[in-house]
């Protein structure tokens, strides 16, 4: 470490023990429970970061900019420092040379030339940006300190829309354009293609900013240890990446940092980043030589963390008179907020532009643009919901223009099963799919014919609410295509008593890994599930790892454990041979190696040699392409603008579902987030860059009252690239749901809403939006 030696010896005992099942009543045998995690979670014995007790722990609070854009003239910390119980107050100036900077994702990328310091230095770029940090003896005192800090900001012109920001002469970063990145996917489409096509449709869509809103906001606890290391307890999806970034930003040896993820209160993509607050907290814990924690509150996280989505989109499709799509062009201005930390989300939208369709010419142009708003970053789906929404609305537009049934139009254009592996024009290779199968199953389950007839009946009558049926067919990417993100590390250790300890580089934030991964390993080895335990989310215990995002846990982590288990069987057999087994045929079944008359359990083999019985490796798992079709049936009250979802049918194909019940849990949860996106959720900004919701009364999440009747089913098209056959699950629900609902509402409101194609209804479909649409008013402008 370059500077900042501890100013005092650490005062605390080693950190409290890791989360274990403690204080759980005897009656809570895991076989009675739905999941292993539940014994502690239903009794209040779970350990989230905020529950960890460390003696002498201090609390941090942040002062945040209330101005969206301006020159930071002064930060007066004097009054705050005087408050009884405040241990210290730091602005960027107070940190001096020790101010950490968030490491850039890749060299030469947009975030390298637009650096994000842990605290704003001379410029603020969004409301919520950290300006100073206070450390106090408890959170009340730290917040008193935050209230007492005076910040002087000279306002600059504010840019809240990416299109406006791209064209503006006001630049957020001196000397660097507001367009952070421009990307193209596929070949540009010749003008003649559009001119000669029988029909061309075009739609423009706005993806509002969404607040991911896990029930637990961000949380971190940094504990300097007696041996000079620091343990960082954090609610996070990718502990190894965070460890590396902390080392880079704080100029520490990676080995000095241990990142541990205890129970986590949800993430949905929003806890995968290296946040500026985390750098400050770890820096100050080391500087003070005392444990420091930061527990974010809800008002703070709604503008101080990251948002998802946030794109302006334009889609153009050309087709022949039979509805065969000839060309698809997608243009995206992605609003990446004050710092371009996650341009890869918008890149995914472009790369995925073709969707499940066999369109010969596909071109996407994506710009990421900085604005004076909260930075955008992954939120469940991360680029795929945006792409699917833009294309599926435009496909419906094409169906209306052609007077064709939207289901038939989709069926006509699907990539057929025999075409896989399929190279999309944007340069992506799809693994496998049976898209028409999922569509047909969805139509059958919803009883498509019945609802079309009911729609005609209602259209003949003036007295009933308008009814609409909306479809969404999608193919999405799970896991990641590029090495090293396509890898995952796993190990299995056999203990002398024959138990197996599994370790893997994924990291659960509520996805039931503790239940599912041991089940998978046990099943593969043919031993009882209770003989297998799992360790995740600890950089000391897990040698390396990529983490949990992009629906990759089972596809990549599960597949790694599966391959490790198959290897373990071979290793066990070889050990039996080395022990003098001369039989030519060594068999393995149910945890026992056998040869002729002799047999050895895994435990026997583990004790037979001082050398551990273990396997370890990095396993390669290519991206996979789950898919499905969702159908929504809605009715719209034209007088009040209320949308009522009468049916939602979701057909998903995530390959082999290792634990179908857990997959269904994920699907329903994601669908309800998709319902939120379709009908309620938005983080709006005024033209001064002030976010218009600072609590959960302003930012509306679905409650149980908004839950429509759901029908879920699956088709199974195995992942051809792994023995396990699993593709990713967890995000499809919020990919398929919003376009299905929106297409259904437009179908209900009729042709008038489609208008000139441009500027139709935009998300979310609030009562006001639908009422205006039903009344024939302009609905695109805001």
């Amino acid at each position: 470490m370059s500077g900042f030696p501890p100013t005092r010896a650490p005062v605390q005992p080693p950190v409290s023990p890791p989360p274990t099942i403690t204080h759980v009543p005897q009656g809570a045998q895991s076989w009675l429970l739905g999941r292993r995690e539940d014994a502690r979670l239903v009794t209040g014995a779970g350990r989230y970061v905020g529950d960890l007790k460390v003696a002498g722990c201090l609390d941090a609070a942040f002062v945040r900019s209330r101005v969206a854009h301006g020159r930071l003239l002064a930060v007066d910390t004097g009054a705050a420092a005087e408050i009884d119980g405040v241990v210290g107050v730091w602005s960027a100036a107070d940190m001096g040379d020790e101010l950490p900077v968030v490491p850039s994702s890749t060299p030469g990328s947009a975030d390298e030339e637009r650096q994000r310091p842990a605290l704003a230095v001379d410029r603020v770029r969004y409301v919520g940006e950290p300006v100073a940090v206070i450390v106090g003896i408890d959170r009340y005192v730290a917040e008193d300190g935050a209230d007492a800090v005076r910040v002087d900001i000279d306002p600059l012109p504010v840019l809240v829309d990416p299109g406006q920001a791209a064209a503006s002469s006001t630049w957020l970063f001196d000397g660097v354009d507001n367009v952070a990145d421009e990307m193209e996917f596929g070949e540009p489409i010749d003008h003649e293609v559009w001119q000669r096509a029988a029909v061309v449709v075009e739609g423009a869509y706005r993806q509002p900013r969404l607040a991911p809103t896990p029930m637990e906001p961000r949380a971190i606890l940094a504990v300097p240890e007696l041996d000079g290391r620091v343990t960082v307890w954090v609610s996070h999806q990718a502990p190894h990446r965070l460890q590396k970034d902390l080392a880079t930003a704080l100029q520490l040896d990676v080995e000095r940092i241990r990142v541990r993820v205890p129970d986590s209160g949800g993430a949905f993509g929003s806890k995968s980043g290296t946040f500026p607050e985390y750098l400050s907290v770890v820096r100050l814990a080391l500087r003070l030589g005392r444990p420091v924690r930061w527990i974010e509150d809800r008002a703070e996280t709604l503008s101080g963390a990251t948002h998802g989505r946030g794109q302006n989109q334009r889609v153009r499709i050309a087709a022949d008179e039979d509805g065969r799509m000839l060309a698809l062009a997608l243009e995206v201005d992605a609003d990446v907020g004050g710092y371009p930390i996650a341009g890869f989300v918008a890149a995914e939208t472009g790369l995925a532009a073709a969707g499940p369709y066999l369109t010969p010419k596909v071109h996407a142009r994506v710009r990421t643009v900085v604005t004076n708003t909260t930075p955008t970053a992954p939120y469940r789906g991360a680029g795929r919901p945006e792409q699917v929404y833009a294309v599926e609305r435009t496909v419906d537009l094409l169906a209306r223009r052609l007077g064709m049934d939207p289901a038939e139009l989709r069926r006509r254009n699907f990539i057929p099963p025999e075409a896989f592996p399929y190279e999309a024009p944007t340069g992506r290779r799809y693994d496998s799919g049976q898209y028409a199968l999922a569509l047909d199953k969805a139509l059958e389950l919803v009883d498509y014919g019945y609802w079309r007839e009911e729609q005609r009946r209602r259209r003949r009558s003036d007295t009933v609410r308008a009814l609409g049926i909306g479809l969404c067919s999608f193919a999405e990417r799970s896991g990641l295509e590029q090495a090293p993100m396509a890898h995952e590390w796993a190990s299995l250790d056999v203990t002398p008593d024959g138990r197996v300890v599994a370790r893997v580089g994924t990291c659960s934030t509520g996805q039931s890994h503790e239940t599912v991964f041991p089940e998978l390993v046990a099943h593969t080895l043919g031993i009882p599930a209770q003989c297998v335990s799992l360790i995740e989310g600890d950089t000391d215990e897990v040698v390396q790892g990529i983490g949990t995002f992009g629906s990759r846990s089972m596809q990549a982590g599960g597949s790694a454990l599966h391959q490790a288990a198959l290897e373990l069987i071979e290793v066990a057999k070889r050990r039996a041979v080395r022990m003098g087994c001369a039989e030519p045929d060594v068999g393995y079944a149910d945890g026992t190696v056998s040869a002729g008359e002799r047999s050895w359990t895994l435990g026997d083999l583990a004790t037979a040699s001082p050398e551990p019985l273990r396997v370890e490796g990095v396993y390669d798992n290519a991206a996979a392409f789950p898919f499905g079709t969702y159908v929504a049936v809605v009715e719209v009250d034209p007088e009040l603008g209320n949308v009522r979802v009468l049916r939602l049918v979701a057909i998903d194909d995530c390959g082999v579902a290792v634990d179908p019940e857990i997959v269904e849990d994920q699907t329903i949860g994601a669908i309800v987030q998709g319902i939120g996106q379709a009908l309620y959720e938005e983080m709006p900004y005024d033209n001064q860059g002030t976010p218009q919701a600072d609590g959960l009364l302003g930012y509306l999440l679905p409650t149980i009252g908004e839950l429509p009747p759901l029908t879920l089913d699956t088709t199974v098209t195995p992942n051809p690239n792994t023995a396990l056959g699993a593709k990713g699950a967890g995000e499809a629900g919020c990919i398929g749901t919003p376009p299905a609902i929106v297409n259904a509402v437009i179908d209900a409101l009729g042709q008038s809403v489609a208008g000139t194609d441009i500027g139709g209804v935009q998300l979310p479909l609030t009562p006001e939006t639908c009422w205006r649409a039903a009344a024939g008013q302009e609905v695109g402008a805001r």
């Binding site: 739905g34 905020g50 529950d51 999440l701």
Partner: protein, 169 residues
């Protein structure tokens, strides 16, 4: 605001003598002073319901009450539900029915349901009242379906048979 006040809180039939500033919220005192961290804080402004506890049998949001308001009152938290080594029926049911994933909202839902249904089990028989009750709290993981099934399993007339008849299955 300042000045510390001694208060005796009775939580799960155990007395806790704490000295707290009057401004300290019940949730914070339960978690920090009584070491009962099962109660979670999800929004700190009374909307999400994760911090729901029972005070004199009524479900309240412990982020909207001061600890000093609760002196002499009967407080129940999730830690006090299991008895004689057995889980409460609803704790069991919410697990069996997959009514939790990350678990952060779970204590709030458990206390909400236990508080209301122990008082009036007929809520389980009335879908509208049940939705009204459960819509007091937010969950971002499960989509709520499992939580509803859990209420029916624990309190419904048909008990264990409810799952097969639930919507969507």
């Amino acid at each position: 605001m300042t000045g510390r006040t001694p208060v005796r809180l009775t939580v799960n039939e155990t007395d806790y003598d704490v000295t707290v500033e009057p401004r300290r919220l019940l949730a914070d005192v339960l978690r920090e002073d009584c070491n009962l961290t099962g109660t979670k804080l999800g929004c700190e402004h009374g909307v999400c319901g994760s911090c729901t506890v029972l005070v004199d049998g009524e479900g309240v949001r412990s982020c909207l009450m001061f600890a000093v308001q609760c002196a002499g009152r009967d407080i129940r938290t999730v830690e006090g539900l299991a008895a004689d080594g057995r889980l409460h029926a609803f704790q069991q049911a919410i697990s069996t029915e997959h009514g939790l994933q990350c678990g952060f909202c779970t204590a709030g839902f458990v206390m909400l349901v236990v508080g209301a249904l122990e008082d009036d089990p007929s809520i389980a028989e009335d879908p509208e009242r049940l939705d009204g009750l459960l819509s007091s709290n937010l969950c971002r993981c499960t989509g709520y379906e499992g939580i509803r099934r859990a209420v029916l399993r624990a309190y419904g007339r048909n008990g264990r048979h409810e799952k097969d008849g639930a919507e969507g299955h």
